[in-house]
């Protein structure tokens, strides 16, 4: 029954696409989709899900370009002279360093930093049920934190509205990637990815090796120019003979300060088992007050801390990019992909409602009997579902504006603010992946809302928090 409902509100069936000719009873999409295609975060995937990058990949091409160009100039212009006058080891060392830098950089950029998959509908519903004990009619999300003891120290876990779960310790939500990342360090625009648990060691080896490479090139270029000027008629002529060296000098000179500084900083972090995030926020520094709030994660031994961070076991990626979506999720996931196609819609509550409850909005637009519940209807409630099937094909942008119009039109404004604090300040299109989401999201805000949602139809209780 659930699958049939999804079929009825399948956007491809609604839009005049060739796929609408599909048999509604048929549960399979045309080809099995992989999970990365329906991934809710702001990431890009390559090689069929094997490589992951942040959508805002910042200046990664610039980083790569600078490294390749500088090293290329070095090998082309400085190495011949230095091989001739010094030793052949110079290009060899340079080559090894260069390969190491590029490998570390690519590894950092294309590795899943430790993204936590978002809570499924049932888990989120359960968490909501546990939190929402007040039962008040107006839903105002309290600051949701949970305190736990780690090594006899109190640590607060925050609730992530986007991912719908309490963040594990040391996890933070990256707004650029729209993901919760374990042991979140920072989002590095130079590598175009977040730096987290799974790729911190690669990041660290990247900056360390880059420090060595930059220093090495800098030193070699200085040596080159010095030798030339000694052999020739002065430094000016040396520069004229080898202008590329000047370019390298400039690039290395300016980057060496920041890279060395960064390496030193991260070495300190590694030795004390801290993350950049924690260090910046001062989570474990003494300025909290009289109470001793040391880092509960440190092993109080520099060597152990280093080993843990850099040589510890490599946890697997939790987001299963290359797994196949189950057939009953494939269709709402297809809906998600449909929504991915339009250009980025600005983040707004209206759009969140739209993207995540697209089917409900279609009903809204064509149903006069709205009950004033904006996007809060259960998409699987039977009377509404039937309306959806008769809804004409609508494009997503229309819906997004449609929702805004609906929101404006509807005198009942209350339910919408009820929804906006719930999770979706950042996410929009991913919610269609879990079509079940609207149900449980809506069930949480208030009993009245849940009840009225239930009144709309007698769909399955899946996703609804039991009214007990």
């Amino acid at each position: 029954m659930k699958n049939c409902e999804y079929q009825q509100i399948d956007p491809r069936a609604l839009s005049a696409s060739p796929l609408s000719a599909q048999n509604p009873a048929e549960k399979k999409v045309q080809r099995p989709r992989r999970k990365w295609e329906a991934f809710p975060g702001k990431n890009r995937f390559f090689c069929d899900g094997r490589l992951i990058l942040a959508r805002q990949n910042g200046v990664l091409p610039l980083t790569l370009g600078l490294i390749v160009v500088t090293s290329g100039l070095f090998f082309a212009f400085d190495c011949p002279f230095l091989v001739q006058h010094l030793t052949v080891c110079i290009p060899m060392i340079g080559g090894v360093l260069f390969l190491f830098v590029v490998a570390s950089l690519l590894r950092t950029s294309f590795t899943d930093p430790g993204i936590l998959p978002r809570a499924t509908a049932d888990e989120a519903a359960d968490i909501e049920r546990q939190i929402d004990t007040s039962g008040s009619s107006t839903y105002r999300p309290p600051p949701r934190t949970k305190e736990i003891l780690i090594n006899q120290q109190v640590v607060k876990l925050k609730y992530c509205f986007t991912c719908k779960m309490f963040r594990p310790p040391r996890t933070s939500h990256c707004s650029l990637c729209d993901n919760c990342v374990e042991r979140f360090d920072h989002h590095c625009p130079w590598v175009g990815n977040c730096v987290g648990k799974r790729n911190y060691r690669y990041f660290y080896s990247f900056i360390i090796s880059l420090s060595f490479l930059t220093s090495f090139i800098f030193g070699c270029v200085i040596t080159h120019i010095t030798l030339r000027s000694q052999a020739g008629k002065g430094i000016v002529q040396a520069i004229q003979e080898s202008p590329a060296s000047v370019v390298e000098l400039v690039i290395c000179f300016f980057s060496i300060w920041s890279i060395l500084g960064l390496s030193g900083f991260h070495t300190y972090l590694v030795a004390s088992n801290l993350t950049t995030n924690e260090d910046i926020k001062g989570s474990w520094s003494g300025k909290r007050g009289a109470e001793e709030s040391g880092n509960p994660y440190t092993y109080s031994n520099i060597i152990t801390n280093c080993c843990v961070t850099l040589c510890g076991p490599m946890p697997p990626s939790l987001i299963d990019r290359r797994g196949f979506l189950p057939p009953d999720e494939a269709i709402p996931a297809a809906a998600a992909s449909e929504m991915e196609l339009p250009p980025f819609t600005p983040k707004s509550d209206a759009n969140m409602c739209t993207q995540s409850t697209k089917d409900v909005l279609e009903r809204m637009l064509h149903s006069s009997d709205f009950h004033g519940l904006c996007p809060s209807g259960n998409p699987k409630t039977s009377p509404l579902v039937q309306e959806v099937s008769s809804a004409p094909a609508t494009a997503e942008p229309y819906l997004s504006s449609g929702c805004s119009r609906q929101l404006a039109r509807q005198a009942v404004v209350d339910p919408c603010p009820l929804l906006s604090p719930v999770a979706f300040s950042k996410s929009n299109r991913r919610d269609s992946l879990h079509s079940i989401n609207p149900a449980f999201r809506l069930a949480s805000p208030s009993p009245t809302l849940s009840r009225s949602a239930l009144v709309l139809g007698d769909g399955p209780d899946i996703g609804f928090i039991p009214q007990h």
Partner: protein, 160 residues
């Protein structure tokens, strides 16, 4: 294999079945451990000792996976020296232990949980998710109850 087949059926029903989630246990840090507290919803379905034994074994397996031993250290150093190319051909220690965990869960399902109409889902399928709360809701038919441990295990019961 009939048992496996029924397990597959149960997995498919798991989406509509009731689930109980078990929370992660952070008292020792960010290591992957689960609370051994016996959920009240399962009181009628399974023996408490058995359940706790399962969780304890799983906790031990995860501790082993995340252990800072010489093996992980050698792996880390080797990976660093080969510019991490070694990960392309070699399975990490963690992955090997995860396979053992999957096997153990399969075994437990076959021997203990499936006969009682429960189903343990491998945590990795749910992304080793952390603070999934305990939740038990009844399916439409009201006959299934499930157990999800930290998002790992979905123990769904059929006709329970």
């Amino acid at each position: 294999m009939a048992e496996t087949h029924s397990l597959q059926d149960m997995r498919q029903q798991a989406a509509v079945a009731a689930k109980v989630f078990i929370q992660r246990d952070y008292s020792n840090g960010t290591m992957c451990q689960f609370q051994t507290k016996f959920p009240s919803e399962l009181e009628t379905k399974i023996d408490k000792q058995q359940f706790e034994e399962t969780i304890r074994t799983l906790n031990n397996l995860y501790t082993e996976a995340e252990k800072l031993g010489s093996q992980s250290f050698v792996e880390g150093c080797l990976a660093c020296l080969t510019a991490y190319a070694v990960f392309l051909c070699m399975e990490t220690h963690y992955e090997k232990v995860l396979k053992r965990i999957s096997k153990y869960i399969q075994e437990q399902n076959d021997k203990i949980y499936a006969p009682r109409g429960l189903l343990l889902t491998d945590p990795i399928e749910r992304g080793l998710r952390v603070p999934s709360c305990m939740s038990l809701w009844l399916s439409r038919k009201g006959r299934t109850a499930g157990l999800d441990i930290g998002g790992f295990f979905t123990v769904t019961s059929d006709g329970g």
